[in-house]
């Protein structure tokens, strides 16, 4: 190709150091890589530390990593929305108490209204329960958004008020009682019962599909750019991206499959299905749990929303320069309202995951979640000044936060110490990020 851009890129490639050339060609976000590195350090650190203290490293076991993913799901789901809220130069402090209120509502709906009316174990209960949660989340989120966008009240104030109001509302509904148990189908959303693990075969199949999607995505992008004669990434860089993407995907599948069912459950399952038990016992892999799949699905959907749709484009443009977006003809108020509504729906999803996982709804649901969600988002590289942030960053940030928490729980850290460390890590991470960004520019 004789495109001048190509020539100049080729020139740059020839004069740069191999490492720089690698990052330029693959367009890998070095910040992301830093975060993955930090996470691996945390993981290995807990493993070694655990071995020194308890004589046994349990952090890097399939069982712990599997649990880690399940525990991360609820925060991860909400962090994908918080990224875009913060990108738009807003904040949502109400997500934790909104989760509590929504969780309580769906709990009450299932236990006090639907079960007596439809009979427990009616498969409609979970459908209505989820619809109640998503609907309530959407309404509350839209209300937040309306106050921010149309009444012009700063989001900090609106959602600070929301934090208090929804907390009170949740208390008002159940007065500190615990509503339990949840519907047995609904419970699957939380990942605890056996039927909420999809098993090895399905997990491998899913992993294969994701790998296929990676390949197809890269090939389609290449052919689209070829059609317009745009400069392309070098072939070796594309190959590397495909290999790395597939390796991470299949590696994750291998880990969740390596965590076998508890022997008692495997035995009972065998008995129920008349499967003879071989001498070594039956080994069934857990595979992905439903909440993890939900979180991954939400991650994909939100990434699509953020990068492939007009809505997402407007969210970023508003974050970059709200006045410019308005002057360009973007209906910034509508976008703001819709964004807060989306956040509310995500809170509804997380409320289902949390209530289902505990198999109960109570006022303590979602306590401090707003802080963890914001922390995950910020650790994931979202700038509080607005305009900058990615969904995958927030997902990784959520995983880092949860890794710290579970790691310390495994080592029996006092919860006071845990809080001190988690808070410090947040501040430290942002400080490092600032230094990195200053270096970059």
């Amino acid at each position: 190709m004789t495109d001048a851009a190509e020539v100049s890129t080729a020139h740059l490639l020839a004069t740069e150091s191999p490492i720089k050339r690698f990052f330029r060609a693959t367009e890998i976000d070095t910040r992301l890589l830093g975060m993955v590195g930090a996470m691996l350090v945390i993981w290995v650190g807990f493993q070694i530390f655990g071995k020194l203290i308890t004589g046994e490293g349990v952090f890097l076991t399939p069982r712990n990593l599997w649990n880690l993913l399940v525990q991360t799901s609820a925060i991860a789901v909400m962090s994908t929305g918080m990224v875009l809220i913060i990108v738009m130069r807003h904040i949502d402090l109400s997500v934790g108490s909104m989760l509590s209120f929504v969780g309580v509502l769906t709990g009450v709906a299932q236990v006090y209204w639907l079960a007596p009316w439809l009979g427990s174990d009616n498969p409609m209960i979970w459908v209505v329960g989820v619809a109640v949660a998503l609907g309530a989340g959407a309404i509350l989120g839209a209300f937040n958004g309306f106050l921010v966008a149309y009444a012009g009240i700063p989001s900090f104030i609106v959602t600070l008020g929301g934090l208090i109001v929804y907390n009170g509302a949740a208390w008002w509904v159940i007065r500190g009682e615990t509503v339990a148990p949840m519907d047995s189908y609904f419970e699957l959303i939380g990942g605890t019962p056996r039927a909420s693990w999809i098993g090895s075969e399905a997990s491998w199949a899913l992993g294969g599909l994701v790998c296929l999607a990676i390949v197809v995505g890269i090939v389609l992008n290449r052919s689209a750019r070829a059609r317009f004669k745009f400069p392309q990434r070098p072939l070796w860089a594309e190959a590397f991206l495909i290999l790395a993407g597939c390796a991470v995907t299949l590696g994750t599948v291998a880990v969740v499959n390596a965590y076998a069912w508890p022997p008692l459950i495997a035995e009972r399952y065998a008995k129920e299905h008349n499967i003879p038990v071989p001498p070594g016992g039956l080994i069934y892999g857990h595979g992905f749990a439903i909440p993890v799949l939900i979180a991954l699905g939400v991650g994909v959907a939100m990434t699509f929303l953020a990068t492939r749709t007009r809505f997402g484009r407007y969210v970023y443009a508003i974050g970059g320069n709200p006045e410019a977006a308005e002057l360009a003809g973007v209906n910034t108020r509508k976008i703001t309202l819709l964004m807060f509504m989306t956040m509310g729906i995500l809170v509804g999803i997380s409320a289902c995951i949390t209530a289902a996982r505990l198999d109960a709804a109570s006022n303590s649901l979602g306590q401090f979640d707003e802080l963890y969600v914001i922390a995950a988002t910020v650790i994931g590289g979202t700038s509080l000044a607005g305009g900058v942030g990615t969904i995958y960053g927030a997902l990784l940030g959520a995983l880092v936060m949860q890794s710290l928490q579970s790691g310390m729980t495994l080592l029996n850290f006092d919860s006071a110490v845990k809080d001190v460390i988690v808070g410090s890590v947040l501040v430290f991470a942002v400080w490092i990020d600032q230094i990195y960004r200053r270096r970059q520019s």
Binding site: A4, A5, S8, A224, R225, R227, F228, F230, F304, T307, R308, T309, R310, R313, Y316, A317, I318, G319, G320, N321, E323, A324, A325, E326, L327, A328, G329, V330, N331, G387, V388
Partner: protein, 261 residues
């Protein structure tokens, strides 16, 4: 002028707008015909940007009328203005700094694939074409506009205004960040657009930017129009007199801001 007999393309009549107690624009009237370049001159703070922001839908006027092709126009926001074919290059450029040139170019009017998703490649292709016309050396299509030079950013803002078949083009200090070479290029562009029948408001605080390109000039001072008239009927010194002293020369039609003789 050639087209005085037709209804003007744009007519702003007695437009007023105040911020707090400050009358930023005070009963200002200007008009514009197709294929005409009207230079809007005045000191910094004279009210030029505010007046044209009323036309582009950025500000709501307190009073006055806007007519387009002789008909009352309803312009309450920038979307309305664009519907009338009014495109604006703002003095502040009004770019979203965190996204790339193509995203800015198509902001609010994104091209979409048949599945309704953003068609980034098509947008990049058109961006390359229109930027090639303005700034042939421009290469940084993947970078956020924050990292571009002042001139490159200005090119993006100009590209955005000319890409969507404007009928009325507002250029608020369009060459402020440009070098002499690029300024000349914008001058060529203005002549070309004028030849296509587009009406252009060219705003500047510097008479030299405007005098050679404009058919008519209008001068503002303290929110009021001092006067307006064809450049052929005035000398540069007379126009300077309007800008500095508010003194309307015989070749110009005096406005409310003209110094009492």
């Amino acid at each position: 002028m050639n087209a005085e007999t037709k209804a003007p393309l744009v007519e702003l009549k007695d437009v007023s707008i105040a911020f707090g107690g400050i009358k930023a624009v005070d009963h200002a009237s200007i008009d514009l015909y197709p294929g005409e370049v009207v230079g809007l001159l005045g000191h910094n703070g004279a009210g030029k940007s505010t007046l044209i922001k009323v036309l582009s839908g950025a500000y709501k006027r307190d009073g006055g009328d806007i007519r387009i092709n002789g008909e009352e126009a309803v312009i309450n926001n920038p979307r309305d203005a664009k519907r009338y074919g009014i495109e604006t290059i703002y003095q502040t450029l009004a770019l979203a700094d965190n996204v790339d040139a193509a995203a800015n170019l198509f902001l609010g009017r994104e091209l979409r694939t048949r599945w309704g998703t953003l068609d980034d490649v098509a947008m990049e292709a058109q961006a390359r074409r229109v930027m090639g016309r303005l700034n042939p050396n421009f290469r940084r299509f993947k970078d956020p506009v924050k990292s571009l030079s002042g001139g490159q950013r200005q090119s993006v803002a100009i590209a955005r205004a000319i890409h969507f078949n404007a009928r009325i083009l507002i250029m608020d200090e369009p060459t402020a960040a440009l070098g002499p070479q690029e300024t000349k290029q914008v001058g060529e562009l203005i002549k070309q657009l004028k030849a296509e029948g587009i009406g252009i408001f060219l705003i500047s605080h510097d008479i030299h930017d405007v005098f050679d390109l404009a058919d008519r000039v209008a001068v503002m001072k303290n929110g009021q129009v001092v006067g307006s008239g064809p450049v052929t009927a005035m000398t540069k010194d007379e126009v300077l007199g309007m800008i500095i002293l508010g003194k309307c020369p015989p070749g110009a039609t005096p406005g409310p801001g003209a110094m009492a003789a």
